[in-house]
């Protein structure tokens, strides 16, 4: 009995120390890139402009959809906006903008000023919906196909390289 206890204690300690060792070589920054390859299920989003809801049915006919999380108060969102405008000209991809913790007036003013790249405009007033998408901060964007597989996840503002990569995925 005593031997078993000793063995269990030592194994447990070695296990804990081993995990500590493994953790040392990991980045402790939050990273949701591992979501790539997963499927998005049960989308249900309130529209920003009307009382309608967007669900999976709205997106299943799009070959590709880019889900972009943004807000009028978010400075990097301004930086990425021209790239979204550029991407919106591409017919193979639709863009769903999820307005994050924002005021409707400010959001619409933002789009009036900088242009509206979004085919769908949804809102997430308290930020809870975005959590379901694995969003950590904004801006973030998720590229999905018509089967709702996550193909790519971009954390932070979109840049030229991201747009290029997205276009390549669409082409293939």
């Amino acid at each position: 009995m005593q031997k078993t206890i000793k063995l269990i204690t030592v194994s447990l300690l070695v296990f804990i120390l081993g995990i500590f060792y493994l953790s040392l070589n990991r980045s402790s920054n939050y990273d949701t890139k591992f979501l790539v390859g997963n499927k998005l299920t049960d989308i249900e989003l309130k529209s920003l402009q009307s009382k309608e809801f967007f669900t999976n049915d709205d997106f299943k006919n799009n070959k590709y959809t880019l889900i972009n999380f943004w807000a009028s108060w978010c400075a990097p969102c301004r930086v990425e906006h021209p790239y979204l405008m550029m991407l919106s000209k591409n017919k193979d991809i639709k863009i769903l903008g999820i307005n994050f913790k924002d005021k409707k007036i400010n959001a619409l003013k933002f789009l009036e000023e900088l242009g509206n790249p979004y085919d769908y405009l949804a809102k997430d007033n308290n930020g809870k919906q975005s959590v379901n998408f694995g969003i950590y901060g904004i801006p973030e964007s998720i590229l999905i196909d018509n089967k709702f597989n996550i193909l790519k996840k971009i954390i932070g503002p979109l840049n030229e390289k991201d747009i290029k990569e997205i276009k390549e995925i669409i082409k293939s």
């Binding site: 030592v10 120390l17 995990i19 009028s72 108060w73």
Partner: protein, 624 residues
Amino acid sequence: MLSNTGNFLLSLNIFLSALIIYYSYNNLKTSDNLISKKVFKISILQSTSILICFFTLVSAFLVSDFSLITVYQNSHSLKPIFYKISGTWGNHEGSLLLWVIILTLFSFLFLIYNRKHPKNYRLYTLIIQNFLILGFLFFILLNSNPFSFISPPPSEGLGLNPILQDPALAIHPPLLYVGFVGSSIYFSAAIASMITNYSDKSFAKSIKSWVLISWSFQTLGILVGSIWAYYELGWGGFWFWDPVENASLLPWFAMTALLHSLLVLEKRNTLYFWSIILCLLTFVLSVMGTFLVRSGILNSVHTFANDPTRGIYILVFLSLMILASVYILFSKYKPASIEINSNSKETFVLVNNWFMMFYLITVLLGTLYPIFTDAISNNKISVGPPFYNSVIIPVVVIFLFFMAIGPNAKWIKNKFIDLKIYLLITLAAIFFNFIIFFFFKSYSIISNLIVISSLFLILSSIIDLFKKKNFNFPRVISHLSFGFLILFIGLNHNFSIEKDFNLKIGETKQIDNFKFHLKDLKLVQDTNYKAVIGSLKVNDLLTKEERVLKPEIRIYDNPQTLTYEASIQTNFIRDYYLTMSNIDRSDYYNIKFQKKPLMIWIWISVAMLSLGGFLSLFRHAKNN
């Protein structure tokens, strides 16, 4: 110059530690019961030189000697003198030096204050403690040297993280360090006691003072850290179950359990190995906490920089420490037949230990689980307050009842003669609880139980105050304070009011019974920061109270950082707590307002809890 002095003193200390180990080891073989004078002399020299080494670093901070990387990275010539000094330990390298100072001073003090105990036991303690000192000195010298220099020296420093520029945070590390680094001495003593078979009640006596010192300081350290988080982090809470906070709480649970198990060892000469395990566990948890926060595995204000080699070093040290102590424990362990009556004070002390172990395991699991899931399955999860609250709170209720009854139980065999009194106390507690929710506001069943059980402990402790027999004032103070602590936390939780809204200058908003008016904003220039100070009038429409709160948004220059300073108005009944933050591209400011009842009493209760520890220390010192 200061760099050379520092490096020389560090190397000297390594030499002295090795010398102490050598002479102590030789001294073991002599037949008399006297420790060689050489050992004493070198120990005095060791303590003196490590203190000089520390003051060398302090002076480097004081004169802003930026040729030292640590000073360059953590200080600035314009910083107030007070924060220049506290900057010494407000960084990884300097705080490690503080570690070594406490290891060394405790080693020396243990040597001179335990003259009555056997020579070999004291010498082995000294040897093991010096191995710990050596481990940390090498770590400092090879990996985290505060005296590393840069050439040419920069003309100006980068500054100390503004949120660390705070009086509470200046004293928080030293207090906490005396607590958990201090536990090293009973880790060493425990191993020495196993090696020398010094296992009777006098072993308990030899370490009791040190356990009390570290426990009391740990309690104070946690308190100060918590007060800091309350007014600096701007979340309005005092405990967030943050992994880093947990890291300081884990050794505290082990220490508290040890403190109680030593009572049994001292009185009844049993539970020796259990006490040894707790001695080892306390320091192991302390080093583990240091590993977790310094290696960058847990991200927090305590993570000064992510450096994996640093983590490896502490991990190797921790592993060696754990495996060596477990090996000695297993080879020396003798199963003892413990004869404890189920109705006796011993049982109550054991029950205390079970509870402490339950809290410890719960908090340990909550803290380590996310690390494990991340390492094994790549899954990032976080364990937050709901887990701790739902697991710990119900158990606290039962714990408080035991805590009230236990101290009055008799050793060996107890008889419940006070049943009537306890029944009356229960009724009184229920009555007071009824009054609270009848006149103020009703709350959940679990809150009712928390209030009743804490009142039960408070009332029993107050009755104990008037007892003449077996009167232990420090114990009553600590138990009473703990009862008050839980009561105030419970009431604070149930009666807090929180409002969150946006407001612009000149605007008035009424939410429920409160009217808020943002009068104006002022820009103020301080020595090392600019501040935007809001002037917010808050009217409580129920009590007709009107007060002006002045939250700040500070813009620090070095390094450039924005911090939000809560405006807090405290009195004995409640705190008004208000933070203001700017909203980008908008005239509005986000206002978080909280009315938190009895806040100050939570702090006072913890301070009194720690006072109980200090009183007990004096009592123990006087009796021995």
